[in-house]
């Protein structure tokens, strides 16, 4: 670009105007994208925080209420329940969603045949619209003619109420969610496994390490980084669980009401109070922000 004007004394002005022109051109290219970010990402972030200190009713202008929204949600008995349920969901989801993909990926990686099939099969549920998995499992869970109870009957085990009993509701939700989502983590582990140098295993074998010890002292240490990353990503994702409780147990079931369900409830069903919903969102954002910050820190150190 600078070819024509380089070195000529008269070139400075034309170079400056060229520079301005380039910048105008660049911002013209970016205008649409920047506007979308401004309207649907940056501005809502600021507005969300402001909203949590406001009362909004669509009749009069929003007005400041200080920390009233926060006091209101703290007083709501569902507040503690929602956080407890969310933590339980995240906890159980971690046990399944963290260990199962790890085990599956190690298994797939050892297979010399059908690898393509395993990869496709495990990721297929991830591709489906989440509502499909949830409604499908709703029929599996049906206490009357559901498939799961048929299987339990078949092997002589007691039947379960699945989503309809407070004892099993949460785990039933985790099962659907895990089924629908574990493919992503499995494939990421698989990619990491394939990048482990084969020499390491060879050397360990020559030193007389058994398969179990090779797994413990070669595979797992090599996966440490990706395990940490996926752990954080999963905490962030599962704390936002919504569709499973929304569709399977409803928005007013105290057994399964989660933080996201409560936000939805505040804004769109029972209370119609956007200020309370925003206050709850701010709390969720702060908690998730901590994990996001750790995630960024961890992945940046790696670079």
């Amino acid at each position: 670009m600078a070819v024509a004007t380089a070195g000529r004394p008269a070139g400075f002005r034309s170079r400056l105007s060229r520079k301005i022109q380039d910048n105008l051109m660049a911002y013209a290219f970016m205008a649409g994208g920047i506007a979308c970010f401004a309207f649907f990402s940056w501005y809502p972030l600021v507005r969300g925080v402001i909203l949590s200190f406001q009362q909004i009713n669509f009749v009069t202008d929003p007005y400041w209420v200080g920390t009233d929204n926060f006091t209101a949600i703290f007083k709501d008995p569902l507040f503690v329940t929602a956080w407890k349920n969310t933590l339980i969901f995240t906890g159980i989801a971690l046990i399944f969603g963290f260990l199962v993909p790890l085990a599956l990926s190690i298994l797939i990686n050892e297979m010399r045949h059908l690898k393509g099939f395993f990869r496709v099969a495990v990721y297929l549920p991830v591709m489906l619209p989440p509502i499909v998995g949830v409604l499908l499992f709703r029929y599996f869970y049906d206490p009357g003619f559901g498939l799961f109870n048929t299987i339990l009957r078949g092997v002589g085990l007691p039947e379960s109420q699945w989503t309809q009993s407070s004892k099993t509701a949460m785990i039933s939700l985790v099962l659907v969610s895990t089924w629908a989502n574990l493919g992503g983590a499995t494939l990421m582990y698989l990619a990491a496994l394939q990048s482990i140098p084969g020499d390491l295993y060879e050397a360990a074998e020559l030193d007389g390490a058994s398969a179990w010890r090779r797994l413990r002292h070669v595979t797992l240490p090599q996966l440490r980084f990706i395990m940490l990353v996926l752990l954080l990503l999963q905490i962030i994702a599962t704390m936002q669980v919504f569709i499973e409780p929304y569709q399977l147990t409803g928005t007013s079931n105290p057994d399964t009401v989660t933080v996201m369900v409560l936000i939805y409830r505040y804004a769109f069903t029972v209370n119609q109070d956007f200020g309370m919903a925003a206050a709850m969102s701010v709390l969720l954002f702060v908690v998730l922000g901590i994990f996001s910050a750790i995630y960024l820190r961890v992945t940046r150190d790696r670079d």
């Binding site: 290219f29 309207f39 003619f145 084969g198 295993y201 398969a211 962030i236």
Partner: protein
């Protein structure tokens, strides 16, 4: 990995063709050593254990991941009577494929399917146009404050979408400055979808690798900025455009909570939201609902089977932070 794909100087070369061959030879027939060596699993007891494990894992995958889908497709063709039996039948004894037709017509699946397809394709086009423009400007025109703009965009990746749900919803009901109400319009899905920093980052990283000399020589030949983008950058970027395209279409097709909020008028709903609503009314026979679920899944299954390499490759690339 997709991002690091070397750029081919000849745009005419199909960019996807050589990749599978390479990958197959790398993972096939034990080119890389894993936990167990070839020797361990090809002789005596090891061989037996390997085949036993393979069979068990295969059956496990079949039962867990494939069976529910089979169940969905096959339940839809049962008669409602057979479907309601206390002991479900593994293979349908009755066969009424018309249920799919019925669901398509009566539940107006056709309408919701068309809605979703329209949202997905429109959203894909708009995202691509805006995101490519931003990435191209950031990568090749390098404006002042370009780094700040990119930083602000990337910072939004830290925001969980759900934290913005309420304020973003209010924004959609009354867009600042313009005062538009986008509720129940496609724009409510399309415009927020453009604000996807991940796509912009991936595109920019790819554009960064295209040598500037190539663009400069085109500029010397008299090509404008737009012409350079259209005739040089885009043809070279086909692989990355493919991955970004698939992910944006899939994302819109799968989205639930956002369309649930912004498309409250049943006429405008996506298939997912409509199915959720229909499932709660209990006026729909379960076999028809199953057919609806199956129909909602077909496009995603087809996309996945066709583009599985790009999807799985793109996923692995994303996880490794490019």
């Amino acid at each position: 990995m997709t991002i690091a794909t070397p750029i081919r100087p000849l745009p005419a070369t199909p960019p996807v063709a050589p990749a599978p061959r390479r990958r197959r030879s790398a993972s096939g027939s034990g080119a890389t050593r894993t936990l167990f060596s070839e020797v361990e699993i090809s002789r005596g007891k090891g061989r037996f254990l390997y085949w036993l494990t393979l069979t068990l894992v295969f059956l496990l995958f079949l039962a867990i991941f494939i069976f529910p889908l089979y169940w969905m497709f096959s339940s839809a063709v049962k008669t409602p009577e057979e479907y309601a039996q206390p002991d479900p039948t593994l293979f349908p004894h009755t066969f009424v494929p018309e249920t799919y037709q019925l669901a398509w017509d009566r539940m107006r699946i056709a309408k919701f399917f068309a809605n979703t397809a329209f949202y997905a394709l429109g959203g894909w086009l708009i995202q691509l146009v805006f995101q490519v423009a931003v990435a191209y400007a950031l990568s090749k025109l390098r404006p002042i404050f370009g780094k700040v703009v990119l930083g602000l965009m990337l910072a939004s990746l830290m925001l969980p979408a759900t934290a913005l749900l309420i304020p973003a919803y209010l924004t959609v009901t009354d867009v600042p400055i313009f005062g538009w109400n986008l509720l129940n319009t496609p724009w409510a899905l399309w415009l927020p979808a453009v604000a996807n920093a991940f796509n912009i980052y991936v595109l920019k990283r790819f554009f960064d690798q295209i040598p500037n000399d190539l663009l400069d020589s085109a500029a010397l030949d008299g090509a404008g900025r737009f012409r350079v983008l259209w005739s040089i950058v885009l043809p070279l970027s086909r692989p990355v455009l493919g991955v970004v395209s698939i992910f944006s279409i899939v994302a819109i097709w799968k989205d639930f909570i956002w369309p649930l909020l912004v498309l409250q008028d049943p006429e405008t709903q996506t298939l997912s939201v409509a199915l959720s609503r229909l499932a709660s009314t209990s006026q729909v026979p379960p076999t028809q609902l199953m057919a609806g679920l199956a129909i909602a899944s077909v496009p995603m299954i087809v996309v996945f089977l066709i583009f599985q390499r790009s999807i799985i490759g793109g996923l692995a690339a994303g996880s490794m932070k490019g």
